[in-house]
Symmetry: C2
Subunit: 376 residues, 2 copies
Amino acid sequence: MLAVMLDGRPRTRAELGVLTGLGRGSVGSKVEALLGSGLLAPVGAAVSTGGRPPVQFRFDPGSRVVIAADLGASHGVVALTDLEGSTIDSFSAEISIADGPDEVLGWVSARADELLERHGRRDDLVGVGVGVPGPVEHSSGRPVRPPIMPGWDGFDIPARLSSEFHVPVLVDNDVNLMALGEHAAAHPQIDDLLFVKVATGIGAGIITHGRLHRGAKGSAGDLGHVASRHGGGVQCRCGNIDCLEAVAAGPALAARLRAKGIQVERTVDILHLVEAGSMEAAAELREAGRIIGEALATCVSLLNPSVIVLGGLLTRAGDHLIAGVREVVYTRSLPLATGSLQILPAETGRDAAIVGAAVMVTEHSLGVRKAAATAS
Amino acid sequence: MLAVMLDGRPRTRAELGVLTGLGRGSVGSKVEALLGSGLLAPVGAAVSTGGRPPVQFRFDPGSRVVIAADLGASHGVVALTDLEGSTIDSFSAEISIADGPDEVLGWVSARADELLERHGRRDDLVGVGVGVPGPVEHSSGRPVRPPIMPGWDGFDIPARLSSEFHVPVLVDNDVNLMALGEHAAAHPQIDDLLFVKVATGIGAGIITHGRLHRGAKGSAGDLGHVASRHGGGVQCRCGNIDCLEAVAAGPALAARLRAKGIQVERTVDILHLVEAGSMEAAAELREAGRIIGEALATCVSLLNPSVIVLGGLLTRAGDHLIAGVREVVYTRSLPLATGSLQILPAETGRDAAIVGAAVMVTEHSLGVRKAAATAS
């Protein structure tokens, strides 16, 4: 019943009976339970048709809260959000994921405590969602051989945090959460969407049938380690050679610019170069877009999405990278697949993963996906 | 309610009430309607708990029939099947898809008529499912610029056949239907499966969330036109260069064998060569497997399937091709993605597309997927 109400429209008991096919008694007891938990709120009496006044109800996203954490390589955010992922309050800080789970999760948990305390919402917490910069086995919430997260391999993140907060803890990689967040916030009606992050690393989150496609072990969307034909034998940090990430992400671009005598260290420096009018940096971004575009042409052939969203640091430096992507994807893919394909910049920006972490928790806690998948 | 019953287990009205959450009245009227249509059949009285004897019901896949047609480039099958895709009777013949829709669909409709007449099942027909060897816009049932189907571009197949049979007509490309058939018959419990056909062409059908992923325009799974780095500039019939199909499908292998002075014309000749003990043919198949394996390593990174099934003519010549695929996929993909990946030969064989066409029609006609997607 709650799934029906998540669209936010107010409805009467009678309307809920029609929409769910449940009898009057079942509707009544379910509504009572949801009112009791605060997830539904009355919105005043509708026009009566005689007898008991048919009060309307509406889903109240502010009735409960979520703790959402977005952990990057060197930056972390912990937010208190409502059930739709809107931030109520948050902390962000320079952290180092390489400090390991004890230190980093200790920080998450202290900041979360502070947020719950400050807003008096401890009893309203439905769950904790955590995004990390590496592959995660979603079912267990454990990172699996994450290349830039020393000390985290196999660490039981849910156990560590649920012992403290006594609610479900869900973990996923940051790109999957960005895809969930961008989908929920900007493209909720789209069934087939591909979200691509291009920054110091490259990754993708795939929406199929309107839902995040995690795959058998949660590693779907691993675009960064797809083979590129442009590497010429370059070693990737994963151990393979010529991975897309080793050829077209921030460090590779920075290295090529340095080879031209241009001062650049971190991925963010490339952004500053472009903003300062560097033609060389713009040309490198466009070429990176073309190389990524070749991998995305393969994704288009395989998945035929309606929308490809490009996000991450390197997509925020003008249109150079997205122009290179468009150039190759529209050249390389078959007409049927690109006829109505849109290639767009991300709308959600830096808080995409926070929104996604909250959406992941809400969907899990309210049993929305489970209901949709098993109902008859 | 029917969705619950499709597992074939007998249930009472009371059990259906529990499983569906419907009230006694709703269950009663739905059961009556399904009994009336023959989709449910009574299976004798269960042990009574007092009052009216709680009769059990079971889904009866033989209660209705489907016409399933599998049209290849040079071979066609028209079958009368039950709702699970088991063939009751069929015709197969050498046809030429290039003769165009009037002639080919005329043949389909004459044979379908004959089957319905012969078995007296005209009134039991729920729908017609058609597989064709080219891209199809699934929502309209029209082929879209199919390279080997001259005269079919944009042709309204459903209009042509439904005017005759007055039932829904669904069309998809043959590889999607093989994926549906193999999934239903051999791997019904697997949520993430990739079916790959390797024959005169190369294509894939993708199962995500337990359902066929067709993509925005129905062109998902177009593995044959993914770029390979092994082409060296070879022209593909689609107009692009170095497509996987132009490098690793039957005609490319035949050309390489001819260059070695070996007599081979059609794809099936390669099979005969391998059976006759040709080392050269076996080596070409293994190398084709490696080249296809590179594309599949990308699929594994993107989709993280539990099972990859290899089917089509060239996979039936011993284990050479599948061995090449395994060699590269297990080398190239990350451990998390391949830890529990199985790469298997197809079990359904030649009738995979017929089973798939019937399953597509049954799911559509009984509203199973719709119910699952919209229920609350």
